[in-house]
Symmetry: C2
Subunit: 275 residues, 2 copies
């Protein structure tokens, strides 16, 4: 059906102002299957990992040992539970994520908008914090976030920083990078230190070769962004780290969100501030 | 009188463990006129500036506008007051600083151990925080402070960062520099952010030329220290900044402590933590 551009823009703008619950209702009915960046602003968006119970205990320990790349915001209380009432009264993890990825033995086998038909009684759900929350806090303080101003995905890099292993899970840390002036980097460290559940303070800044990154213009994930002469690259632990660990561990079944298409919760970002 | 070396060392060690009040008693009777670094550990040491009332209001505004280089911990309530009971019940600012410098129109004219005979009814005393407090917090966290491990004065540099002017006071910021690994620098920013009254978080890190420093091996004050290949220079606002502003403003009379010979207060360093 033909829809004029202005009308589409208006619809998108309206959707951006939806409450988390109203947004999830759209997702649940299959009307939104895209990237959630910029939607339900002010509310925590979560990375999703769903594993069979036989793999969940190791993964929980991996998160506990590596809280900067794997900051656990919530998990299901019992295997098989699909309601996440801690994060939002009506959240059903089988239907409320815009797009899911299904992995078998580490291989992507399907993308779906609803996993109700796949649900198993032994599934355990993990929700991990995401950089959208701290980017919002940095923007609110007046900092420019280059990937946002250049309308790109944040550049992400594999590093030589080893995560602590837990059972079948191990691997090196993946980091995201945002270029900042030194005084902005100092301010960003202060702001992000308040938010340990969304990766917390940066893990490195300055010379990328010291953490095993050869070329900032060749990110392993996402897009490269402009770095000005007077800026330092600042590196945060990234939620792609557990995805890499999952790909290496090759559980028989694993379901995640599609990158960028997050679970939107009812938790205000400010509630994650520890001080 | 001959005193064996071992006995001298023992005496110094004993003195290092003195309470602030007992240490000030030594200073008051003229038995200690040296550098206070390492004495009365755990207690706040202060930079001292004493000005006639006619200059004090401008200086107070200069501190208020430039809290990072000029963090005001206390000042006398009324002109002429020489007891600073807020900082320690028995503190007499005329006698309790190990060594004073007397400036006339910006020129150093004398050093004295007691300024009782110079005291004027219009004198206003300012006590500013000092880096010893945050260095102690960094050491407690396991960081190496290069100027301490190399037994040197911290290197200090004039920058091109302009202070905000207040009346007759103006000038560029002076910074101190401590080299750290990136992850240590991030940790130092977190720790020092808790202590705004002792210069707070660093003001710059990385490329020194961006703040007008040509050569880290040629500090304007203090000694140069070793910077390893994998370290970043980290720069803090420095208490020499107000001294430079005073030298430029040239008040008819100004009394300060001799660098390194600070006022030792009864305030535990931990009391300065804002969070």
């Amino acid at each position: 059906m033909y829809q004029p551009l202005e009308q589409k823009k208006e619809q998108k703008k309206d959707r951006k102002n939806l409450s988390p619950a109203a947004f999830r209702a759209l997702v649940r009915q299959g009307s939104f299957t895209g990237n959630t960046s910029g939607y339900a602003q002010g509310f925590v968006q979560g990375n999703v990992v769903i594993l069979p119970k036989s793999w969940a205990d190791d993964f929980l320990r991996f998160c506990q040992k590596n809280p900067k790349p794997c900051p656990l915001i919530a998990m299901s209380n019992n295997a098989g539970e699909y309601l996440l009432t801690e994060l939002g009264e009506d959240i059903d993890i089988r239907t409320d994520v815009p797009r899911y990825r299904i992995f078998k033995k580490g291989q992507l086998v399907a993308e779906m908008n609803d996993i109700s038909t796949l649900w198993q009684d032994d599934f355990v759900t993990f929700i991990l914090g995401c950089s959208f929350s701290f980017e919002e806090a940095l923007l609110a303080d007046g900092l420019e976030i280059r990937n946002i101003s250049e309308n790109k995905n944040v550049p992400m890099y594999r590093t030589n920083i080893a995560c602590k292993s837990a059972g079948r899970f191990s691997g090196n840390m993946v980091v995201s990078m945002r270029p900042l002036l030194a005084k902005e980097a100092i301010r960003a460290i202060q702001i992000c230190s308040r938010f340990p559940q969304v990766h917390g303070a940066p893990v490195h800044l300055g010379d990328p070769s010291l953490i095993g990154i050869d070329d900032l213009n060749q990110p392993d994930f996402g897009d490269s962004v402009t770095i000005k002469d007077d800026e330092l690259p600042v590196f945060w632990a990234c939620g792609v780290t557990p995805q890499v660990a999952l790909a290496q561990a090759k559980p028989e079944l694993c379901i995640t969100h599609t990158p960028g298409a997050m679970l939107i919760t009812d938790i205000p970002n400010s509630k994650l501030a520890v001080l």
